[in-house]
């Protein structure tokens, strides 16, 4: 439980998990919304979200003791 006291872990985990879910959704099927004009926004934004999440996890693992 103690690891959840560090905000970098929380932000990192939430974004990474959500990012991966969105990425996988985009991988399985291309969105059908007309206004997207064929852009697979799930794939793109899933990756972006995962990277931001991983960045926060990286900050934590680089220096776990100091917030």
């Amino acid at each position: 439980m103690k690891i959840f006291l560090d905000l970098r872990v929380n932000i990192g985990l939430v974004l990474t998990i959500i990012g991966i879910i969105i990425f996988l959704t985009g991988l399985i099927a291309k969105p059908e919304l007309e206004s997207l004009h064929g852009v697979n926004i799930n794939l793109i934004w899933g990756i972006v979200t995962t990277i931001v999440g991983a960045f926060f996890l990286g900050l934590y693992f680089k220096n776990p003791d100091q917030e």
Binding site: M1, K2, F4, L5, L7, N10, I11, L13, V14, L15, I17, I18, I21, I22, T25, G26, P31, E32, L33, S35, L36, V39, I41, N42, W45, G46, V48, T49, V52, E67
Partner: protein
Amino acid sequence: MSDAILHPQLVDYVIIAVYFIFVILVGVALKDKMKTGSDFFLSGRSIPGWITSLAFLSANLGALEMLGMVASGYQYGIMTVHYYLIGAVPAMVFLGVWMMPFYYGSKARSVPEYLNFRYNEATRALNGISFAVMTVLMSGISLYAMALILKVLLGWSMTTSILLSAVIVLVYVAIGGLTSSIYNEVIQFFLIWIGLLPITFLSLKDVGGWNSLLARLPDGFSHAWQGTATTAGNGMNVEWLGIVLGLGFVLSFGYWTTDFLVVQRAMAAKDMTAAQNTSILASFPKMLMPILTVIPGMAAIILLPSLGQASDVGDYNMALPLLMAKYYPPGLLGLGITALLASFMSGMAGNVTAFNQIWTYDIYQAYLNKNASDKHYLLMGRISTVAGIIISIFTAYIVMGFPSIMDYMQTLFGFFNAPLFAIFLLGMFWKKATPWGGFWGLSAGIATAAILYYGLPADHYASPAAGNFWRAWWAFFAAFVVETGVSFVTKPKEEKELVGLVYGMSKKINHAHLPWYRKPTVLGAISMIVMVLINIWLF
């Protein structure tokens, strides 16, 4: 369910669930840290500066703010940036550089408590009670707004939404106190950015980019200042003096420097420098927020042309959700909804944490039960959290009937915050301001706002926004004049009672040992310069 705007699928609900689980986890993880009243109400004054900064900003990033600002971008165009620039930045810098030394240095636990130190018990009671009432009202408004949105968006019944979010907020605030609320505000800050940024990109792309957007907007929508020589020259119907005095000076300073909801975040910082820098650092992301609100709002004028105050397609406040429906497929939709939910809930949690502390320290401990144990006040904090949420739920059902949610919010601020700022200004910088001067100044200001609001015909001001700006100005003016006048005929506090509370009566804080990027004055100056540059660019 069939007439809802969005049709989330399983994957979206999974994403929302991931967020809910983390919210609860954070609260539960913090449980063991909440040993004393100070831990629960003040986060033990131990939070690093970057966290308090983002929380400071996020406390003001509730659902009302987001939807209201996108709506305002739709109604008024680029002038909406005034809420983020002149309507925020100078006040945030002023708070950090000049006011925070007295707030943080006085060891007051709350804004009303500072008023008690500086003025008297009566001033504290007036502020504490009016703040508690206003906060619960705001909390109820958030709940109502959220339930309404979720009903239109997802087809959830209003009662389900209200109870579900109230229970989640209740759990994490009652267990984890202010720290839990602050942590969730920071998580929400990132969720809002990540969750809403695609709307900005996709809508800008659809209207042909920034320059094309400006070219396609109606007259007066693409300049922040150019149409403000007269009230008729711009959609907001307010002239530049109203913007500068009303929004830029009184409303903004009143809100950012005295509203305990935001000031509370800075007070939780671990040291004086972190406390000072809290609001100054927050001013930078604040200036970026229009990217998420004003730009989509303006793009919606072209993309969703027929929104009105109560059209069939949806009112202005629906602009953001409708854009989301347009662009977000299942998957990303879950993230977008999560961002909105997070903003709804942390807005409410912010109100609840401010309320439970004011109630416990400034009303309960001050008047009802002076000498109980710390444990007892901690318990009272949790009880008042529950009570505050129950009252919010009732309030939610009462709120209806204003043209734009934002105007309603500012109507309330105009009543209480503008005069409060006047007495803070005098109290912190004029040592001869007397205790009763403070009390009568504050009373006169609130009375002035109320008289103007109820006494003048509704169409006296050109628009609700102009009415709010001017009402706030006159309330401030009345408080300032009455306090000054009363101070000349009543007895001031002795100088030794004012040490640490008034400018010139306390030790100068020395920042010489800090690197430039941690000096509040340097950061504040940079922030002001950036703000001026953006204004010139958008002129």
